[in-house]
């Protein structure tokens, strides 16, 4: 009664693959200029044009979190959260790349220059 594979599984897999690949590559086709947006608790606190960054620098958008910015990329460099998943995410350097430090409620999101549908306005 509990079969492993059925016809529906195959169709489902193909469907999911197509949708996901489309979702991943569609935004990248639109533009190359990268902008990093940093949210703290839902509010935009910083917008950085990553291509215009000359010298690498770090700053702290929120108490216990440090963000490092270089030309074309950005990352969490330090955090006081227990998991440190945000720091482990590494460099964000492509459009659509996003990472968050949930306990501190800080989100870094990289987007292409053409504004995308990911950001919600209140």
């Amino acid at each position: 009664m509990n079969k492993l594979f059925k016809k529906g599984d195959f169709i489902l897999t193909v469907l999911v693959l197509i949708i996901c690949v489309a979702l991943i590559f569609l935004p990248k086709l639109s533009s190359k200029k990268l902008i990093a947006t940093i949210y703290v608790d839902g509010t935009v606190v910083e917008t950085i044009k990553l291509d215009e960054v000359e010298k690498p620098y770090t700053f702290s958008p929120h108490y216990n979190v440090e963000v490092e910015v270089q030309k074309g990329k950005i990352r969490f460099s330090k955090s006081d959260c227990p998991d440190k998943l945000c720091v482990k995410s590494g460099w964000l350097e492509t459009s659509g790349a996003t990472t968050a430090c949930l306990p501190q409620e800080v989100v870094i999101s990289v987007t292409g220059e053409k504004s995308d549908f990911d950001i919600m306005t209140y």
């Binding site: 509990n2 594979f5 599984d9 999911v16 949210y39 839902g42 949930l102 999101s109 950001i119």
Partner: protein
């Protein structure tokens, strides 16, 4: 169908929950994978939850899910608790609903895949709520592709382990 005494039910659930917990602890040693959010795991403990959703019932499956979340609360904190609960509940509900469709269009692999995607969806939504932004949703396509593989894996292992798990159920 024999009616099980409630202490036997509790014992069975206990064994299954313990299995789920051990699997999730073992998985926590897997390092972060590229292009995926760190903390992404194969979800082996869902083998147990899927079994419960299929063969025992929704309340039991949800209990196992809740125990996993409580474990996350104790070992990793409140944020982890919310994330585990969000992903787990959605995933379990999807599993149970799919098992209830009489025509069974999907096999174990497909159900594993859909519940894995459900798990990721629940967690991404919870992360959006916690951070009050929606941009984190952009990781979903990557997670979903990974879910195809992990869902298949979970379904396959469940298929292999069915006789063993049934023995536990019929104690």
């Amino acid at each position: 169908m024999k009616k099980k005494s409630s202490s036997k039910k509790i014992a069975t659930l206990g064994i299954l929950s313990a299995q789920a917990l051990v699997l999730s602890v073992l998985e926590s040693f897997i390092p972060a994978l590229p292009y995926l959010p760190p903390g992404t795991k194969p979800g082996l403990s869902n083998i147990v939850t899927m079994f419960a959703a299929a063969e025992i019932g929704l309340p039991s499956a949800l209990t196992i899910t809740f125990i996993k979340s409580l474990f996350a609360l104790i070992t990793r904190g409140f944020t982890a608790f919310c994330m585990s609960l969000a992903g787990g509940v959605l995933s379990t509900l999807i599993m149970w609903a799919l098992f209830r469709i009489k025509s069974r269009p999907f096999g174990l692999a497909g159900i594993g895949m859909l519940s894995a995607i459900g798990h990721n969806l629940g967690q991404v939504l919870m992360a959006s709520v916690i951070t009050s932004t929606t941009s984190i949703i952009s990781v979903l396509p990557f997670l979903a592709i990974f879910s195809i593989i992990t869902g298949f894996l979970t379904g396959t292992i469940l298929k292999i382990l069915l006789p063993v798990l049934n023995k536990i159920k019929n104690i």
